[in-house]
């Protein structure tokens, strides 16, 4: 990769030449434009290429369900914890499913300590909306005693390493973790909820979630007014892209969410292209999940 970029930059400025990395620092956008115009990306990927992705279930035993997801340099861990809460007055038999994404200063220098950044909030909300509006889980399944007690599922995503495309990674981890959730069957008695402390959990003493569907996403960044599509952008690419198209699909190929923000207006050809690529990508992801 280094070699290509040097030649590119040299070609750019015959007068004086400097290393690819210097060129990238000085003119990040120009640096990228050179690559993009040749249909490749500095990390050697093609424009529509996704980074290697791995998924591991049940990685945290203190959580009822958990998953670790890696997409290139981005690593997230989702842990789902089931605790007991009082239901809302207007929905006495519904539990809670609360997703939150934490972008801590540990995972990238671009995040400051303190309350969640706008980005973290936006991603959390996006996942929250997908779970709610594509009806992933029937919240009445989480009822323990109507009007008295329900399960609250805290699906917290902790980003260990940030290198772009957090939405795809976070959603993938949340869905995998939810599919991994096992909750001990509760008994309700005068406001006290008890569960058995049995060592081995089976369908006798515990239950799993019955998920209506598994929405997974593919996100594309829009580079420059040429609206070049970069699949699964890394942090450096995100920094110089003006817009984003994100497609979320379930296993039946239904669209659960589709968003296009920033950059110039995008043709329907472009949108169709994204949806098509997203189909193949999410199918891959499903087989990755199954394979482990």
């Amino acid at each position: 990769m280094a070699s290509t970029s040097i030649s590119v930059s040299a070609a750019e400025s015959p007068a004086f030449s400097f290393s690819a990395s210097t060129f990238q620092k000085l003119h990040p956008v120009e640096f990228f434009r050179k690559f993009i115009s040749q249909g490749v990306r500095p990390d050697g990927r093609l424009l529509e290429g996704f980074r290697p992705t791995t998924v591991h279930k049940n990685v945290v035993s203190t959580a009822n369900g958990s998953a670790m997801v890696r997409i290139g340099g981005t690593t997230v861990i989702c842990g789902v914890k089931a605790e007991v809460a009082e239901p809302k007055m207007d929905s006495p038999n519904q539990g809670y499913l609360v997703p939150n994404v934490e972008l801590s200063p540990m995972c990238s220098s671009s995040f400051r300590p303190g309350p969640p950044s706008e980005q973290a909030q936006a991603v959390s909300e996006a996942i929250n909306r997908v779970l709610k509006e594509s009806k992933v889980l029937d919240l009445t399944d989480l009822c323990i005693e109507e009007g008295k007690a329900v399960w609250a599922l805290w699906a917290d995503v902790s980003c260990v390493s940030y290198d772009g495309n957090i939405y795809d990674a976070a959603l993938l981890s949340v869905m995998t973790a939810l599919s991994d959730v096992r909750i001990r069957k509760p008994t309700y008695n005068e406001g006290i909820i008890k569960v058995s402390g049995a060592e081995i959990l089976d369908d006798e003493n515990s239950f799993t979630l019955n998920l209506a569907r598994t929405p997974l996403s593919a996100t594309f960044s829009l580079f420059d007014s040429s609206m070049a599509l970069l699949a699964d952008a890394n942090a450096a690419e995100e920094a110089i892209c003006q817009g984003e198209i994100s497609v979320t699909l379930d296993e039946k190929g239904q669209i659960c969410a589709l968003s296009k923000v920033g950059a110039a207006s995008s043709s329907q050809t472009l949108l169709r292209q994204c949806i098509a690529t997203a189909r193949t990508r999410t199918d891959e992801l499903r087989s990755i999940i199954r394979s482990q």
Partner: protein, 290 residues
């Protein structure tokens, strides 16, 4: 009310866990450790790897069986906040955080007093090893996230170990690495019969059990073992200089036991040191092969 996160119910509690009478559960009376094939002085196998955080100056990931900790180091970078004026030496600040799902009871997103305290201790334990005098007006930030905690003091010791490896991986000048290890005092005695299972939250206050037999020093205790501990000790130590940077002891035990356990910890630290070196050498090799 947290306005910056997807809102959930104000209050949630873990359900009460009820154990069947006939259910067989580990307790020190069995005179073996929770993990029966571990001798009192045995540590859990350590998995230690550098460089999993792509954007960080240096990083390390450590695993002691269930315990999992990630650490990222950023810097040295210029101190953001003005008003501090000129500082001749750099500052090292550590932030220690449990992931919400890392412990038996769900942790809050906002740092609690315990996490603040541990952050402070972490700074104290690491600072002696870092040559801050070479880094005027700059700061090094060490961020630690515990992904799963199986035994508090052992987890904390592991955090120190991981942090010092991450610092080294960031290429920050240090006079030595800091290895840390913990030990718990547990009375392994039949006389302490009908051991009622203490509430699952017991991690700090040890059950006040009176006994004639002195407690056994068990190294690198896990959560189950901690539940029964009389007290515990954590030692942070610079192996090649043979200097201790921090000792954290709690609970009431005989002086002799303390000094003895310090010995044990230092021994253990030397074992851990080997693992740390190996991890760092590996990372250098990787750099070269790239």
């Amino acid at each position: 009310m947290d306005r910056k996160r997807v809102p959930g119910p104000e209050l949630t509690v873990p359900p009460l866990v009820e154990y069947a009478l006939d259910q067989k559960r580990w307790s020190p009376q069995e005179e073996c450790r929770h993990d029966a094939n571990r001798q009192p002085e045995d540590l859990r196998p350590i998995y230690l790897k550098t460089g999993l955080i792509s954007q960080a100056s240096g990083s390390a990931y450590i695993e002691l069986e269930k315990t999992k900790i990630a650490c990222g180091v950023y810097g040295p970078r210029p101190i953001k906040k003005s008003g501090y004026g000129f500082s001749g030496t750099g500052t090292l600040n550590c932030e220690f955080k449990f992931a919400t799902f890392a412990c038996v009871k769900r942790r809050n997103h906002i740092r609690d007093p315990q996490e603040r305290e541990l952050s402070m201790i972490l700074t104290q334990a690491l600072t002696p090893a870092v040559r801050l005098e070479l880094l005027p007006k700059s700061a090094i930030d060490v961020y630690i996230t515990v992904l799963e905690c199986d035994g508090l003091s052992s987890c904390f010791a592991a955090a120190i170990t991981a942090a010092s490896v991450a610092l080294a991986h960031a290429g920050i000048e240090m006079i030595d690495l800091v290895a840390a290890c913990s030990a718990s005092y547990v009375i392994m005695d039949r006389t302490l019969s009908s051991a009622v299972p203490p509430p699952s939250t017991t991690s700090d206050s040890a059950p006040a059990a009176v006994s004639l037999r002195p407690p056994t020093i068990i190294m690198d205790a896990d959560l189950e073992e901690e539940k029964f501990e009389e007290g515990s000790i954590m030692v942070a130590y610079m192996p090649s200089l043979n200097e201790v940077t921090h000792v954290l002891q709690n609970g009431k035990v005989d002086r002799s036991i303390v000094s003895q356990s310090v010995e044990h910890c230092i021994e253990a630290c030397n074992k851990i040191y080997a693992v740390m070196r190996h991890a760092l050498v590996e990372s250098i090799d990787e750099k070269q092969t790239r």
